[in-house]
């Protein structure tokens, strides 16, 4: 229930628009019911008048019929416009809130999520929530209001008819859809699970197509796909049959209500408690009043999906950042030596600690390389320095100041990071560079580019600095992307340099160029380098070997280079 209340709560600011929408929706239903009732009454009265049994002033009702037709059409237009406007405003605000809450979650809290999943929450799931406002909230409110008005009117002629039709309407519009909704929950899960399995199997089959060929397992994969598709369709069949039956019963209930109205009202005509035209009017009114509840089954059907979408959105909005900002941040230090003291940290995915009481210090202006197997804790060390991940024990300090005492922005302002997976945005070269330095002029950008040997390449692009890079820098080669990322890091110009596999995947020549530039950059800066490339290791003062979250050995570079087997096993040829 609280999910719905929260969705309702998001309306702040748009409440007035939405109330107007509900009023208009009610007006539309009432206009239609009145139109049909009046038509029934009108032609019956005209028939009786034609037979000379009653007298009638036909101009007013005839004009009323036309007028109601106009009110209905125009009202419907206005209602849609108002409710959609209000809903879209709510969703746009929610989207920005979502993103704002997402920022402090990166990267620690977002680790279990894939980007595509987060995107679909931010876009598709939030879009799905319009169902709540447009297809649940407004129709339910309008149906409730108009039913009260209709039944009050009908009760004026016959309370019994009012009661009978109210029961029918509630049955078809509320009881039945709710029943179908609760029955549909289980198959809804089965359906989603079957679809997800189908996706995984298809993706794995394409990824492992070579293995399927070599091990002659293609036929087995095909029958697996067929079986999973059949399971999905089986789950859908259960839904389809249930919906078909529910729809049939709803239709039957509508008709039976009309029938019951006849049974109750005909004796009233015989007893002259109501007139013939009123009987026709009541029958038409009852038929038309079902339009008020017609949208409800579809709304209830989509309810499970809407709630699931809401939960996916709220899950992110409610998530606590992994590391809280200090309430009163201290000033940044003036020395830039880096120290880890007994630091222990875990990732949620693994019971073994990523850092296990690790001690390490890098004197100001010195360069230290970290080597070790993947998963040993090299990147974790950097993550704790940047305060992206919380630590359970120990302290991480820069110049004697604990990193969690500084504001996150100030702390990260002290570092220049070239990470293996630094992201390039699908924007221009200049925009990507200015991320690090928003006010940098073109000359500054060019000098950063020439530093990494990219100036000529960028100048040759169709629009120079203004050339869009494409998805994750697709315009550039792997080496060029890395160099651009380095140029961007350079523009940040900070006293601590963090290089996480800066030349991984570059060919030997490019590597040599990039390393030469990095060497000039390292002068005077405290540097932490993670790399398994011998050429890169040549730049540092010391090398530390990390295994299982601890520093197992730390030696001057020259010593490590002279055939220390423990270091050698991690170095890579290509």
């Amino acid at each position: 229930m609280s999910d719905w209340r929260r969705l309702f709560g998001l309306l702040t600011g748009q409440r007035r628009l939405l109330l107007a929408g509900i009023a208009l929706a009610t007006l539309v239903i009432l206009a239609n019911v009145a139109l049909m009732g009046l038509s029934g009454w009108f032609i019956t009265s005209m028939a009786l008048a034609g037979l000379g049994r009653v007298a009638i002033d036909f101009f007013a009702p005839a004009a009323g019929i036309r007028g109601l037709a106009i009110v209905r059409s125009v009202g419907r237009y206005l209602e849609r416009l108002v409710t959609h406007d209000a809903t879209l405003r709510v969703l746009a605000t929610l989207r920005v809130d979502f993103y704002t809450r997402l920022i402090p979650l990166a990267p620690a809290r977002l680790q279990p999520f894939r980007t595509a999943d987060l995107l679909s929450r931010m876009r598709a799931d939030i879009d799905t929530l319009d169902n709540f406002y447009l297809r649940v909230l407004v129709p339910v409110a309008a149906a409730a209001l108009s039913l009260v008005a209709i039944e009050c009117f009908v009760a004026g002629f016959s309370p019994v008819v009012a009661l009978v039709s109210l029961l029918g309407l509630l049955g078809a519009g509320v009881v039945l859809p709710l029943l179908a909704f609760s029955l549909g929950r289980a198959t809804g899960h089965a359906r989603l699970a079957a679809l997800a399995t189908l996706r995984t199997t298809a993706a794995d089959s394409v990824r492992g197509l070579g293995e399927l060929w070599v091990y002659r397992a293609s036929a087995a994969a095909a029958s697996r796909i067929a079986a999973q598709s059949a399971r999905l369709i089986g789950a859908q069949r259960a839904d389809a049959i249930r919906d078909a039956v529910a729809d049939a019963i709803a239709g039957l209930l509508t008709h039976l209500t009309v029938w019951a109205t006849l049974i109750v009202a005909i004796p009233l005509v015989s007893a002259q408690a109501i007139s013939g035209p009123v009987l026709a009017m009541l029958v038409f009114l009852v038929i038309a009043s079902f339009e008020a509840v017609a949208p409800l089954p579809a709304a209830f059907r989509a309810l499970a999906e809407t709630r699931a979408a809401a939960r996916r959105v709220f899950e992110i909005i409610d998530a606590e950042p992994a590391v809280a900002e200090p309430v009163t941040p201290v000033a940044v230090p003036s020395r830039f030596d880096v120290t880890w003291q007994g630091v222990t940290m875990h990732y949620d995915t693994s019971p073994a600690p990523a850092l296990d009481g690790l001690d390490l210090s890098v004197p100001a202006g010195q360069a230290l390389a970290l080597v070790g197997p993947s998963g040993a804790g090299k990147t974790s060390l950097i993550n704790t320095l940047l305060r992206f991940w919380p630590i359970e024990a120990g302290r991480v300090m820069i110049g004697g100041v604990a990193v969690d005492a500084m504001s996150g922005t100030a702390l990260r302002g002290l570092t220049m990071v070239v990470a293996q997976r630094t992201h390039l945005f699908n924007a221009s070269v200049a925009a990507n560079l200015r991320l690090a330095h928003p006010t940098a002029d073109e000359a500054t950008l060019w000098s950063a580019l020439s530093g990494v040997g990219l100036a000529e390449r960028v100048a040759a692009l169709s629009h120079g600095l203004a050339t869009p890079l494409g998805e994750n820098g697709a315009r550039l080669s792997g080496g060029e992307r890395r160099r651009l990322a380095i140029a961007r890091a350079i523009l940040a110009d900070a006293p601590i340099l963090i290089l996480d596999e800066p030349t991984e995947g570059l060919d030997a020549e490019t590597e040599a160029d990039v390393l030469a530039y990095l060497a000039t950059l390292m002068a005077g800066r405290t540097t932490i380098l993670v790399s398994h490339r011998p050429a890169a290791l040549r730049l540092v003062d010391e090398i530390a070997l990390i295994e299982a979250g601890r520093v197992v050995e730390r030696v001057p570079r020259a010593a490590a280079a002279r055939g220390n087997a423990r270091f050698w096993r991690y170095l890579r040829l290509l």
Binding site: P107, R123, G208, E211, Y215, I266, R412, L435, R488, R557
Partner: protein, 589 residues
């Protein structure tokens, strides 16, 4: 794209969608027939209802005299419920069969496209097509197609009955009815273009959001996240305004539509009223026509609401047709000859390969021989064609020049199945399929018994960690082997190779540094595997190249050097230079 060609494209795609129904027309006809059956029932219901009211109002009869028509109404209600449910279920079956078959065809096509294609393909796109794109066809087959037939037929059936009852109303309905589909088409056309523009905008917005989420850590590193919020807010606001603009147009169009329909019904009511007043018709047919009039427009209006089902299906068909149009490679095996016993000699004779869209060959003149017990290591910079070389050997690709022979016979003449019997392949990142660890090791030999399975795992040095898993060999592989390390996945793939008892093993070493345990065990297992087999390994680590009987250095379009580690080091060429980069002490500071 010009308006004309886009129209042709739409038409071809729609024809393609309909062609999926060949052989299933019977189900479609049954679904439409169930829908058509509703027409006489609607008419009968309206007539009985009008009869009851007319008898009471005009003839002054009471309930007791109306038992028959009232009982008849109950019968009609029941029949309509049954017919309606039947139609829904039949329509569902129509879509179900179309989807199941489409999936089968599409997947068969993906398999046929082969590993060489899969190397460049995005598995996510395949997953989207197989699962989601085919699901988007659902409403088209289920709702739209049957509704098209009904929208044409149902109003006609009703007109046939309305005309004799009251020709004036018949004329009003007749004249206004075409306005409905006319506006539908107009709305469709108008919003189609706008929708397409909106879809592009949406795609752009999604792309930007994707970027903004994917790069969140980078944004935080540079303190640029707050600036990005403003961009997201701006895009959201623009998206909202654009969406509303499109909706406004759609609403105006449906306003006109509703207006025509509602006003026509009102006109029918007023006309009938006046004709009754002047005694030009009797009450029963008048009331009947008024009851039928809304039903007359209903199928036309329903079709309008199915229009987006069509648009969605057409959109999804685009990706499917494009994928199905990708030509499958000519079968690498033109012959069907079985290999003559276990392969004992493999020979590359001046093999060259050039991609179809490349101007220069990837490499040329690659020759080597391989016999059981020998290990050949290939090293070289990325992009030199190491994987392509392996693919040629596996038979995934055919050489552009030169020949590959197995025991003197051309590889192209040997049937794929016979060749694959002889080989095992361990890619750089092996794929673990849905199933248990045992299922995955048994991939090539589904009938292997437990002792063979355990032996293979033991030899792959995988037995230890598998036994330590909660359910041992029966542990299900969760989400692409999550919880297993890269080295462990490699050893499971090696167990596959041991179990299949292949003559030739092709191994692509992982580039990432493995945990020390995996590192050593992988090396041991590989040495074991190489003992009496032919092994081609794309090497990334020291141990492997040192142990290899021959090393090929593949670079710049061919083999630049070859020999053993020692010989190559002595030669002081390219290989030795690679090594010098490696040896930090040589250059020194």
């Amino acid at each position: 794209m010009s308006n004309n060609t886009s129209k042709t494209v739409t038409r071809t795609r729609e024809r393609w969608l309909k062609a999926r129904l060949d052989g299933r027309r019977g189900v479609l006809r049954a679904a439409v027939a169930a829908g058509l059956l509703d027409a006489p029932l609607i008419l009968l219901q309206a007539w009985l209802l009008a009869d009851v009211i007319s008898s009471v109002v005009i003839d002054g009869q009471g309930l007791d005299a109306l038992a028959y028509p009232l009982a008849g109404l109950l019968g009609v209600f029941g029949a309509r419920a049954v017919v309606g449910a039947l139609r829904s279920v039949l329509s569902f079956e129509l879509a179900a069969r179309a989807k199941q078959e489409l999936r089968r065809d599409l997947f068969a096509h993906l398999i046929a496209l082969g590993p060489a294609w899969a190397r460049a393909a995005r598995s996510g796109q395949a997953a989207h097509l197989v699962a989601d794109a085919i699901e988007s066809m659902d409403r088209y087959y289920r709702d739209y197609l049957p509704q098209v037939a009904l929208a044409a037929a149902l109003p006609l059936i009703m007109l046939v009955v309305i005309f004799p009852s009251d020709w004036v109303s018949g004329v009003i309905l007749c004249v206004t009815a075409p306005i409905v589909p006319f506006f539908m088409v107009l709305i469709g056309k108008g919003t189609e273009a706008l929708n397409q523009r909106q879809w592009r905008r949406l795609a752009r917005m999604s792309g930007h959001f994707f970027d903004a989420i994917e790069g969140l850590t980078t944004l935080r590193l540079f303190g640029a996240a707050q600036r990005e919020i403003a961009v997201v807010a701006d895009m959201s606001a623009r998206y909202r305004r654009d969406t509303l603009a499109i909706l406004r147009l759609a609403f105006v169009s449906s306003l006109i539509l509703e207006f025509v329909v509602t006003l026509s019904i009102a006109m029918v009511a007023v006309y009938i009223g006046f004709r009754l007043y002047y005694g030009e018709m009797s009450f029963l047919p008048g009331l009947f026509v008024l009851l039928v009039a809304p039903e007359f427009y209903r199928p036309l209006r329903d079709m309008g609401s199915q229009y987006h089902a069509r648009m969605e299906a057409l959109g999804a068909a685009e990706g499917l047709v494009a994928m199905l149009d990708e030509t499958t490679p000519a079968a690498t095996a033109i012959g069907s000859a079985a290999p003559s016993g276990p392969a004992a000699h493999l020979r590359f004779d001046r093999v060259g390969f050039q991609h179809a869209d490349a101007r220069t060959p990837l490499f040329e003149d690659v020759s080597f021989e391989l016999t059981p017990g020998r290990t050949l290591a290939v090293v070289g910079p990325s992009g030199a064609g190491k994987t392509t070389l392996a693919y040629l050997l596996l038979g995934f690709l055919a050489p552009s020049r030169g020949g590959i022979t197995v025991d003197g016979r051309d590889l192209a003449m040997i049937a794929d199945a016979g060749w694959f019997d002889q080989i095992a392949w361990v890619p750089q990142t092996p794929t673990l399929f849905d199933g248990t660890i045992a299922d995955n090791i048994r991939l090539g030999c589904p009938t292997a018994d437990a002792s063979a399975l355990h032996e293979a795992a033991r030899r792959a040095r995988a037995d230890g960690f598998i036994k330590a898993l909660p359910h041992g060999y029966d542990t299900p592989v969760a989400d692409r082997g999550e919880g297993l390390s890269g080295g462990q996945i490699q050893r499971i793939a090696l167990a596959r190779a041991f179990l299949s008892d292949a003559r030739l093993v092709v191994l692509d070493e992982p580039t990432a540094s493995l945990d020390p345990d995996s590192e050593t065990r992988l090396g041991d297992a590989l040495a074991d595997l190489a003992r009496d087999r032919m092994v081609l390994v794309i090497a990334h680590r020291l141990d492997t190249v040192r142990r290899a009987d021959e090393i090929l250095v593949l670079a710049e379009g061919g083999i630049v050097e070859r020999g053993t580690h020692k010989a190559l080091m002595r030669a002081d060429g390219r290989y030795a230079r690679l090594w010098s980069l490696y040896r930090a002490d040589e250059a020194g500071p």
